[in-house]
Amino acid sequence: MASFSHDPATKVQQSSVTTTVTTPALAGHPDEFFVPKYLASTCYADCVANSAAQLASQTAAQTRGSPGSSTTSSRSTFGLLDGETTPQLYNHSDSSKHSSLVRGLSGFQAFDLPESIQTTPGDAPPHLPSCWSSEGVSQSMEIFGDMLEVKFAGPPAKGNEQEAAAVRANHPIPPQCGLFYFEVEVLSRGKDGYAFPLPRTSTSVFERDDPIINERSFIGVGFCGPKVQLNKMPGWVSDSWGYHGDDGNTFACQNSGKQYGPTFSTNDVIGCGINFRNRTAFYTKNGMALETAFKDLKGTLYPAVGMRTIGEHVRANFGQRDFVFDIESYMREEKAKTYMQIHAFQPPLELLGGRSSARADTAITQTIHKLISSYLAHNGYVDSVRAFAGDVQKEANAFSSPKSVEDGDVKMGESEIAEDLEAINRQKIRAAVMEGNINRALKLTELFFPKVFEDNPEILFQLKCRKFVELMRLCALAKKSEYTEDDEMHDVSNDDDTDMRDAEFRATPNLADLLNESIRYGQKLHESYRNKNFPSSTTDVQKALNDIFALMAYPDPINSAVAYLLAEDGRAPVAEDLNSAILVSQGKSSVAKLERLIQHTTMLMRELAEQGGQSAFVNVRHDFLAP
C-alpha cells in the first residue's frame, strides 16, 4: 500500500485514495478485462473475446441443460468486441442476461470473467496495465483519481540527486497485444522543478534552444521490469527505460542519457508505445510521434513514471479515454506489415495434399472447396451441397481440354449419395427443432438414428426441456391473443410452420387445456429427472429444471425476467447440439473441418503471439470471421 504525506492539505485526497483502492471505478478489478479500442484487432483481444464466449456458452449450456463441454457456443456476447453486428438467426436468447456482464465504457469493452469460469487455467488471458499500482511506492508519492493520477508530495529527496520516486502499473504488458500504448499528461511541473540542480552533466543539453525555463519538468515516462526498485527515475537503473522532461533525453538501463526529443512540462501529453513486433519503443509528444527510442527490448515490462520535485502531478491514460496520438492508424500499419509477410508465404503443398504438380493456389482452391462442401454437409444443407458441386463442375467444364478438369475437386460421386441421405435426415430434424416442433424432432431422431438418445441421455433431456419451453411459449402466446387483437399474434398464427406442427400443437389453442397439458408435461419432466444427473457431463440438471420451471411462476412470461428462455433463438443451439450428437453417433467428427481449421489456426497464432512478435497483430476472429 502507498503511504501518504501527512500534510493536512492533502487529507481530502487521501480519503478518496482509500476508497479508490478498495473499489476502483473502472480499473484494476481482478475479474474484469479491459480492451482499449486500438487493441481490438490483436491476438490479445481474441483471447479475451474467447474467454467471454466460453463463459457465455457455459452459462447458456447450463440454462438449456446441455453439456458444458458442448462444442457449440453461445451466440451472444463475444461479437461485441470485434464490433461485428449481432448475428440475427443464432443470437442466443439470453443476451439480455449477459448484458450486465459486458459493459461498454467509452472506447472500451469490459468483460467480467468470474473465477468460476471452467477453462483450463492457462487459457485465461493476462490483464493489461490499467492503472498505477501502490505497491512498493515511496511515501512521497500520492496515487489517486481511479489510481490514474500521481503527485509528488514530498519531502523532496535530499542529498543524493539520483534519488527520485517512481510508480509502475498494476500489470505487466502482455506481449500478445502486439503493441501497448499509454499516455501521461503533465498536470503540473511542480513548484520548483526548474530550480532543481542539474541532475546530470553527461549529454545534458539543459540550456538548449528554448529560453522558457518552465517548459521543463523533472518527470520521466517509461517502463521497467518487475524487480526494479521504485526509488530512481525510469531509465537510470538496469531493466528500466525512460524519456525525461528536463533534458529531453532517453535513458536505457543506465544513468547516462542520449539526446532524443524536446523537453516537456505542464500541459504536455507524453505517449509511450512498446512494439512487440520489432521489440522497440517510441514516444509521442502532444500527438506527434517521435523517432524510435529503444531497441532490442526484452523482459517483462510495466509502464512507469518517475518524479523528483514537490508538486509534480501527472495523469495517465491506459486507454480509458481517447488518446491524443492517433494510435489506431499506427496499429493498422503494423497489421498491414504483418499481413504482407503472411501473404508472401505459399503454404507447402504437402500440407494441402494437392497434386505434386499443382500450383499452390490451385491446391488452396481445392482445399477450400472441400472445406465448404463438408461444412454444408455437416450442417445438413443438402441442397447447398448439390448446388455447390454443380457450380464447381460447371466451372471445370468451361475448360475445353479434358486435362484441365482438376482431380481432387468436389464432385458428387457414388459415395456421396449415401451420405446425402443421412444429411437429408439430419436436415429434417434440424428443421423440426428450428420451427419449435420438438415432438417431430424426437420422433425423427428415434426413427433415423435410434442410438443417439441411448448414447446421449443429456441431449434427450435438453430436447425435453425445450419441449416444455415451447409449450410454455404457446401458452404465453395464446394468453396474449385472448386479451389483445394484436397484429403480432396474427403474424405468429400465420407463420408457415404452424401447419407443420403435430396435432397437439395445431388445435386452436385452448388456453386452459394447453396450460394443463404444459403443467402435466412439466410434472412428468420433473418426475423423471428429479434425482438424475449425468455424471459424464457438467450439465446441472436440477438448475436447468429450476430455470425453466420459473416460467410457470409468471402470469405473463413474455414480459418477465425469464422471457429470454422463450425466445426462438434458443432453438438453434439445441438443434446444433442434436446435430453434433447425431454426427458423432455416425462415427463422424462433431465439429466441421472448417471450424477445426479456424480453431487450429487461432491456437497456432496464440502460441506464436505468446512471445509477442508479429503474430500478435493477427486476430483470427476479427480479421476473418467478423462479417
Partner: protein, 241 residues
C-alpha cells in the same frame, strides 16, 4: 499463457522458455476451447461463394441457412460469365464483357489488360500448333497489333511476350517447364481470378475471399510454430470428409 510472459527473441529463447509440446489430446482440448459462432462460419462461407461467384450455391445456402445477404446475389452473374469465358479460352468475348460491365477497368489496369491479351495470344498459338499445317499468320498479326506496342513501354511485358512467342518454336509435347506453364489451363484460372478481383475492387468490395486468407494464414502459422520448435499435431486438410 502466463500472466508474466516476457518478450525476447523466440529462437534464442529456448534456454529460458522450456520447449513446449502438446500431445494430440492436449492440443484437441485446447482447440475445443476456441469458440466459433455458427453465424460467423456461415458468413465466412457466404463470403467465399459470393466473391468467387458460386451463384446457385450462394442462393441455396442463403435459403437453407436462413441468411439474408447484404450483397445482391444477381451481381455475381456478370462476373461469372466473364470468368466462364476466360476459362473456356474465349478471351475476346471476355474482354468485350468486361468493357460492357466497366469500360474503364482495363484502361486503368494495364497489367491486367496485358495479361488478358497475352492469354488471347496463347490461345491463338494453341490453335495454330494444334494442327501440323496451322496458319501462323493470325498469331503474328495479333502479336504485332495488340502486344508489341505495349511491350515496348514495359520491360516486364516484353519478357512475357518473348517467352510466349517462343511457344511457336517448340513442339507442344516437349516444352520446357517454364513454357509448359503458359499452356497449362491453370493460367486461365489465374487470369480469371485476377479479373474477378479487379472487378470487385472497382465495385468497392474486398478483393479476396476471407477463406483464402485464412488458409494462407494457417499454412504460415503451421510453419512458423514448427520453426519455434513447438511440438503439436498438424491439421490434416488432405482428407476432408
Amino acid at each position: 499463457m502466463s500472466a508474466a510472459a516476457s518478450i525476447g527473441p523466440g529462437a534464442n529463447n529456448a534456454s529460458i522458455t522450456p520447449k513446449r509440446g502438446y500431445s494430440r489430446e492436449q492440443w484437441e482440448s485446447k482447440l475445443d476451447s476456441v469458440k466459433v459462432s455458427k453465424a460467423n462460419l456461415n458468413a465466412l462461407v457466404m463470403n467465399y461463394l459470393i466473391i468467387e461467384g458460386y451463384q446457385s450455391a450462394a442462393l441455396k445456402f442463403a435459403q437453407e441457412a436462413n441468411i439474408s445477404s447484404s450483397v445482391a446475389l444477381d451481381s455475381i452473374d456478370d462476373r461469372m460469365q466473364i470468368r466462364a469465358a476466360i476459362h473456356a479460352g474465349a478471351i475476346q468475348e471476355a474482354i468485350e464483357r468486361i468493357n460492357d460491365l466497366n469500360p474503364e477497368l482495363l484502361d486503368t489496369n494495364p497489367e491486367l489488360h496485358f495479361s488478358l491479351l497475352r492469354l488471347q495470344l496463347i490461345e491463338l498459338i494453341r490453335k495454330c500448333t494444334a494442327s501440323p499445317n496451322g496458319d501462323i499468320q493470325p498469331v503474328l498479326s495479333f502479336a504485332t497489333t495488340h502486344l508489341a506496342s505495349r511491350a515496348q513501354k514495359n520491360p516486364v511485358f516484353l519478357t512475357d511476350l518473348e517467352r510466349t512467342m517462343a511457344l511457336l518454336c517448340f513442339p507442344q509435347d516437349s516444352l520446357a517447364p517454364q513454357l509448359a506453364e503458359l499452356m497449362d489451363p491453370s493460367l486461365r484460372r489465374q487470369v480469371a481470378a485476377r479479373v474477378n478481383e479487379a472487378i470487385l475492387e472497382a465495385q468497392g468490395v474486398m478483393r479476396e475471399a476471407k477463406m483464402r486468407g485464412l488458409v494462407r494464414l494457417w499454412g504460415w502459422a503451421e510453419n512458423a510454430l514448427r520453426q519455434e520448435k513447438v511440438d503439436f499435431p498438424s491439421l490434416d486438410l488432405k482428407n476432408i470428409a
